[in-house]
């Protein structure tokens, strides 16, 4: 019944552990296209609302944040999001995330047209961080998270997982 685990078994790819923290829907308004800047092509997408729901927290996204996206010379889109979440008990949570999005040209073109695309067709991953002063959400200050994004015409949907 015993199982011998060696360092080699990690190379065989068991991976790290995570669990669902929340699903986050973000509503964006038409983006500001700043064009070519020294690091790439800058597009700023204002966040006007949204909602989030998970086993331990739920609420709405306040208007006022944005995603400062940068299309790099290698075709990878860097995402740099800052938003404020308001939990259903009134607590405010600052969330920022850094992410990457890339995929085949035809898939990215379909996304740009606002088409609905299977998120498995492209890579869209982010690493959210949180700041909260409310004791019931202090655990958010102490965890790292990753998310998988699904870019929709109205704005992205992120499945955010806590890294255990």
């Amino acid at each position: 019944m015993g199982v011998v685990v060696t360092g080699d078994s990690e190379l065989r790819g068991q991976g790290m552990a995570s669990r669902l923290l929340m699903t986050l829907h973000v509503v964006v308004s038409p983006p500001h296209r700043l064009g070519g800047v020294p690091h790439g092509t800058r597009v700023i997408a204002p966040i006007v609302g949204g909602s989030f729901e998970g086993p331990r927290l739920r609420g709405r996204v306040l208007p006022g944040g944005s995603d400062w996206t940068l299309l790099r010379s290698d075709g990878v889109l860097e995402l740099d999001l800052r938003i404020t979440l308001e939990a259903d008990d009134g607590a405010l949570i600052y969330m920022n995330s850094f992410g990457l999005r890339h995929g085949p040209p035809e898939v990215l073109a379909a996304l740009a047209r606002g088409d609905s695309v299977d998120p498995a067709q492209y890579y869209f991953r982010t690493a959210p961080r949180f700041e909260a002063s409310a004791p019931q959400y202090a655990y958010l200050n102490r965890l790292l998270a990753i998310s998988s994004g699904d870019r929709r015409a109205s704005g992205p949907i992120y499945t955010v997982e806590e890294i255990l």
């Binding site: 019944m1 015993g2 199982v3 011998v4 685990v5 060696t6 360092g7 078994s9 990690e10 190379l11 790819g13 068991q14 991976g15 790290m16 552990a17 995570s18 669990r19 669902l20 290698d74 990878v76 850094f98 992410g99 990457l100 890339h102 890579y123 991953r125 982010t126 690493a127 961080r129 202090a138 200050n141 102490r142 965890l143 790292l144 990753i146 998988s148 499945t159 997982e161 890294i163 255990l164």
Partner: protein, 195 residues
């Protein structure tokens, strides 16, 4: 039989998560899997990942700067080390460091910058931000330079990479997570690519 096999696999996975390193024997009924290893059955969709590499950092004695506006600052110079994975391996160059900040909530923030040199001489710039925290006893033991089971504290990082070498350009395009282990001579980070 199927159920038994699944339990064994879960135990193997949980043991890895829990910090088994060399020849640790784990029994299914002794390991509390619980919600530390969510299954699809529980309605969770654990993120797919695979090991990218293990990074072993050699550090010089830390420079304790004391209390600064954001917390307690310690700088740990990186003098060398090595990394090994299926797709890359090589040495860590000297000259980097980890700019640690102990916050008022007793969480240690990590902010590392190092340069990797692969065995085929490509240079890779690696950074991460991370968090480390645990019970006061465990953190005190780490402070005394003791080796502590890495499952007894939280030590996670978000590494990022930059390289100009085409054969390693995949590093520019991935999000990764590091599971850290504090050792007296320097930390060991198992870095997983998020698929």
């Amino acid at each position: 039989m199927d159920v038994l096999r699944r339990d064994v696999l879960k135990t193997v996975a949980a043991s890895i998560v829990a910090g088994a390193t060399s020849g640790v024997v784990a029994c299914a009924n002794e390991v509390s899997v619980g919600d530390r290893f969510p299954s699809a059955k529980a309605g969770h969709t654990a993120m797919n990942s695979r090991l990218l590499m293990t990074v072993r950092i050699a550090a010089a004695p830390s420079q304790k700067l004391g209390t600064v506006p954001h917390g307690n600052r310690t700088v740990v110079p990186v003098t060398g080390g090595h990394f090994e994975g299926l797709r890359l391996r090589g040495e860590i160059l000297s000259g980097g460091g980890d700019w640690l900040l102990l916050r008022s909530d007793n969480v240690l923030e990590l902010d590392l910058r190092i340069t990797l040199e692969t065995d085929d001489h490509a240079l890779i710039y690696m950074t991460f931000q991370g968090l480390r925290h645990g019970s006061p006893e465990v953190i005190a033991a780490l402070g005394r330079g003791e080796v502590v089971d890495r499952a007894s504290y939280y030590f996670r990082t978000l590494p990022r990479f930059e390289t100009s070498t085409e054969s390693y350009a995949f590093l520019n395009r991935m999000v990764t997570v590091g599971v850290g282990e504090a050792r007296p001579a320097g930390a060991i980070h198992r870095i997983y690519e998020i698929l």
